[in-house]
Symmetry: C2
Subunit: 636 residues, 2 copies
């Protein structure tokens, strides 16, 4: 049995031993309604059960039963990595049980674990797809087999369980698996890496959770081994799994986006825990360059459907954005680790942008359908996927209940359930508020515990009010992120005194009293955003943002018969709010029919009279049935 | 043995029994130097032998030896469809033997056939990848197995052989295979289609060649069967293999581009031979809409790397153009069949554009390396593929000697070898010159044979001179295509009399005498071309064309350190020729480094002083080593 002295540790997904900021956990930050609190409720009420239903229906939990019954490989269903979605679901449930104390969910959690446990072999190996007669041999397909990837999700789920409910059978399963990985892939073991990074970030956290440095060392080995071409060459090239260049020599993310992001998250963990400044610098450079050149305005990453990969610098086609929901989760993982390591607000900016515009928009309003990819330009109304069928295609243009590769729903579910942990951090002399949610936050300074409530209608409104509810008898600093999107800055009101604050961090240092309020006021009215001239694919176009939200136009808001492909924005007129609805001035282009779309004179389409175009948050797109949609709109 | 009464039929790849125009064959049209004659020589001198070397080296001919030796499946190399490249090579050789009488090549041709013949089974089945113990059962994988696709190329090659050298063992092999297909997939056989269309166009031509209508009927069955979802659903959807919608109900091409084009070619053949006006109209509509909305300025087709497929209307990203060389060949196939059926010059326009800008540019100057995909914007200099290694990747940015899927080299080789057949057609009262080559053309009108020579330095120069070398004692009409790209028209000089002609067909009807000349003068000086405003991906950009050639800029022609991504064209100044070199006025943009590529003010990069930017024909790109390259350049 695991060491029962392990602390629950506040329910923190990430707990570095060092760094500029100390994370809080889901015990410390409680959301109460509002944008994110509502989504946590949706997760509790619908998303998690939806995922439970589907991993059963798809037979992915039953794969473990079949393993026990000896009916594999014949009875196996799903892909090589089907186990991983069971584990990601368990992680979501673990956080949610920790957050809510839901006993029924806890019983269901244990029931699934009871079906998994008997499948683990004596040496810790655990996988339903490999190792039996008629199956591929263990680790015979590191490129595509995903065995270590599956362990990674198992171990992350176990960390969630251990840090919320405490050590139990599930944590023990993960520990045995982790020990097996260290044995099988250690210095004397297989000198390989997994085609899909994930074990790295999981083992590093498991080392933090257990205090056993051997897991960190194994994570470090995997990080260092990658990039040395131990994986086979494939059609997409070894860059697909980041095996073309060592992590510390890579200056911008490339290849499969989720793989690159998970790897970077593990890399930051290893760099922080081993005090490897060079590695940390390399990863900061990777993230900076990727943010500056390979990221959509939504925060989405991955410009190619082929290989689900990053494009080249400034290659960001809106209509072929892959921008996988899981890459959004991965970006939050990496940026949060760098936020903890450095304290720099730009990482919290990236988290905010990605949460609102990629992660939040994956589930639909009912919590039972999900976007896998997130296009910025829906050229034709999508066909409605069957309401109760697995979608074979990641590219479905409407949300689908489940996918053949269904990584996204459970990934979003685990993120929603643990969202509190990303809101604020503490340091010995204060607390840092990074994300604006309604709820309560408990922290601690050197002199003792502190606590506060936050009230806000953000992002619909720009006022965030922090009220101190518990404090100590000494000065401490409340730091509030002023988002990078607020180019004009904001207003901070402390004790009735207003001051202008600029993007970055606004700091209030004082001897706080219970009831003291600090208010940040931001202008969330809609604004025009232009692309860097190097982004060829959206030249001459403009987007509209409001606060952290990217807005979009949908054809259901256009005059009958019009579609977004003919929209032109009159960008000489500022967007504005009309009756609570963001609008921009637009015209519709009337195109001439031609036999050949290239000519010696520039075709200037006839433009309609200007009208007020309603815009909605991008995350709310496709909630009103099939429609065309676009974020970037050509200027009139 | 086949019916020895079969005529050699002029060496025509396509010989419809009816239609507006009657094709000539490679016996009738002889190229002598010039743009295309030089390429035929390159094909003869280098490309075909290069392909012979590689199908041997890759083991794809040896697969037949292994079949005979009973060492399959263990000894099989290459993909499921490796047989097809042997057949496409044989087709190229057959045309080339017919064109040149090369006896050594003929001996090599027969040697390969002798290795194939013993593998054919008693019932005509012939495939190295299926049907043996340890292999998949015959036709057990219609989606991906490509058995019928392989037969298609076998049969097309046999038509080439039969129409040049005459019926022989190879033609007999094909006939047995075709009979087998009719038996296995006929009205009482498997009610399925091949995942990759090709058998349709092959069987239709085999019916024309043999005069046996059963092959046409089988082709018709395949055309009619497709679109009824007999193939399994796949990640890309059934649209990938055009099995989502019946051919006659499809109004624009979609899915895998080569598949769609081969299918359409077969569809035209069936429509023409069965007098199915509805089907022909559907295919004309498909081609018209595809040309108007889904074709690159190069004539290239296929906007997605994923699924090698067409994009949606006006979704034509230059940097992700797939534009497979084989799709260029497929487009020539379809457009030539519609040209024969309708006589409309726009189809010859499409052939010209595609030949010059897609097909011609696939092989490099040495004829031993090939582009598989044809990007219109090379953002980073490509890595040089190893000179003597098979490339695993279709997307290689420099030409590669061979590919894991190596359809393009042999496809280009067979097209070059049979190119004469696409140059001109005849009708009972005249001859139609569609493509401008230096060479001789023999035709026949009702009264007897006619012949002419054509002299031109096209496309470098715009003068095409036709001199009558044989004629009859009655009026006939010489029709010359005036290309659609010549918006301003051209000048036709007949007997010293000039007249202006507009794009379409210029006709000269008279009682010709030997020595009479007809000269067409076209302005091939460089010109600016703008995209339809619906092509979002190149908004605000311009291309430069010269005659039928699309030009491009390469970084090797830029000032030290500059690359094409910073090019801006001053389109207020016309491009021109300076010292024999097309140039445009350009500036270089200096971009500011930013942390985030989206801002509330439009970033206007600083521009360099204007300079003269050299432009080269797109088909000659990448002949000077790794470079960045682009066709569409933003306007300054």
């Amino acid at each position: 049995m695991p060491d029962t002295s392990l602390s629950l540790d506040h329910g923190r997904p990430v707990a570095p031993s060092t760094g500029a900021l100390r994370p809080l956990g889901i015990d410390d930050v409680r959301l109460r309604g509002g944008f994110w609190g509502d989504r946590q409720e949706l997760n509790h009420r619908a998303m998690i059960e939806h995922c439970e239903y589907w991993v059963e229906r798809a037979g992915w939990v039953a794969n473990f039963d079949a393993a026990r019954a000896g009916t594999l490989p014949g009875a196996h269903t799903g892909r090589e990595f089907a186990d991983s979605d069971v584990y990601k679901l368990l992680e979501a449930m673990a956080w949610e049980i920790g957050r809510t104390g839901d006993e029924a969910m806890d019983a269901r959690f244990r029931a699934i674990v009871d079906r998994i446990a008997p499948v683990q072999e004596a040496d810790g190996y655990l996988n339903t797809y490999f190792g039996r007669p008629g199956q591929g041999a263990r680790y015979s397909d590191l490129e595509w087999g995903h065995e270590l990837y599956c362990y990674g999700h198992l171990i992350q789920a176990a960390v969630a369980r251990g840090r919320t409910t405490g050590p139990d059978l599930f944590v023990e399963i993960a520990r045995r698996a982790a020990d097996h990985v260290c044995e099988a892939f250690g210095p004397d073991g297989i000198q390989g890496v997994c085609g899909h990074p994930e074990i790295e970030v999981a083992l590093a956290e498991f080392a933090r959770y257990t205090g056993d440095p051997k897991y960190l060392e194994q994570s470090r080995l995997f990080i260092e081994r990658r990039g040395h071409r131990t994986l086979a060459d494939i059609e997409f090239g070894r860059q697909y799994f980041q095996d073309d260049t060592p992590v510390r020599d890579t200056d911008v993310m490339a290849g499969h986006a989720v793989r690159a992001l998970y790897l970077a998250a593990g890399g930051v963990d290893v760099a922080v825990e081993t005090d490897d400044g060079e590695l940390l610098t390399a990863l900061k450079t990777q993230v900076a360059n990727t943010t500056a050149r390979r990221t959509y305005v939504t925060g989405g990453m991955g410009a190619h459907h082929e290989g689900e990969s990053f494009g080249l610098d400034f290659e960001l086609p809106p209509d072929r954005s892959y921008s996988e929901s899981c890459a959004g989760v991965g970006s939050v993982m990496v940026n949060f680790r760098l936020l903890l390591a450095t304290g720099e607000s730009r990482y919290a900016d990236a988290i905010e942008r990605t949460l609102y515009n990629v992660v939040a928009g994956s589930p639909g309003e009912d919590g039972t359908s999900f976007f896998y990819t997130n296009t910025l330009h829906q050229r034709v109304p999508g066909a409605t996927p069957p309401a109760d069928e697995q979608s074979p295609r990641a590219a479905s243009s409407l949300r689908a209940p489940w996918f053949e590769v269904s990584c996204c729903p459970t990934n979003v579910a685990r993120t929603f359930a643990s969202l509190g942990a990303y809101v604020a951090t503490s340091s010995p002399d204060g607390l840092q508020l990074h994300q604006f949610v309604t709820g309560t936050i408990r922290g601690a300074v050197a002199e003792g515990p502190i606590a506060m409530t936050v009230e806000t209608a953000y992002p619909d409104e720009g006022t965030i009010t922090v009220t101190v509810s518990e404090t100590v008898d000494s000065e401490w600093e409340l730091a509030i992120r002023v988002p990078g999107w607020a180019h004009a800055g904001g207003t901070l009101v402390v004790d009735g005194q207003e001051r202008t604050v600029v993007p970055g961090t606004a700091r209030v240092r004082r001897r706080f009293a219970v009831g003291d309020t600090v208010t940040l006021q931001l202008d969330v009215s809609p604004r025009l955003t232009y692309p860097d001239p190097r982004v060829d694919a959206v030249r001459g176009s403009v987007a509209v943002e409001a606060g952290p939200l990217v807005l979009c136009a949908e054809s259901v808001d256009l005059p009958e018969g019009a579609d977004v492909n003919s929209l032109r924005i009159v960008d000489a007129e500022a967007p504005r709010v009309r009756d609570g609805q963001p609008v921009a001035t637009a015209r519709l282009a009337g195109f001439e029919s031609t036999d050949w779309p290239y000519a010696d004179a520039l075709g200037r389409p006839a433009l309609s009279e200007p009208f007020e175009l309603p815009l909605i948050p991008y995350h709310r797109r496709a909630n009103r049935g099939p429609a065309t949609m676009r974020v970037w709109m050509p200027c009139a």
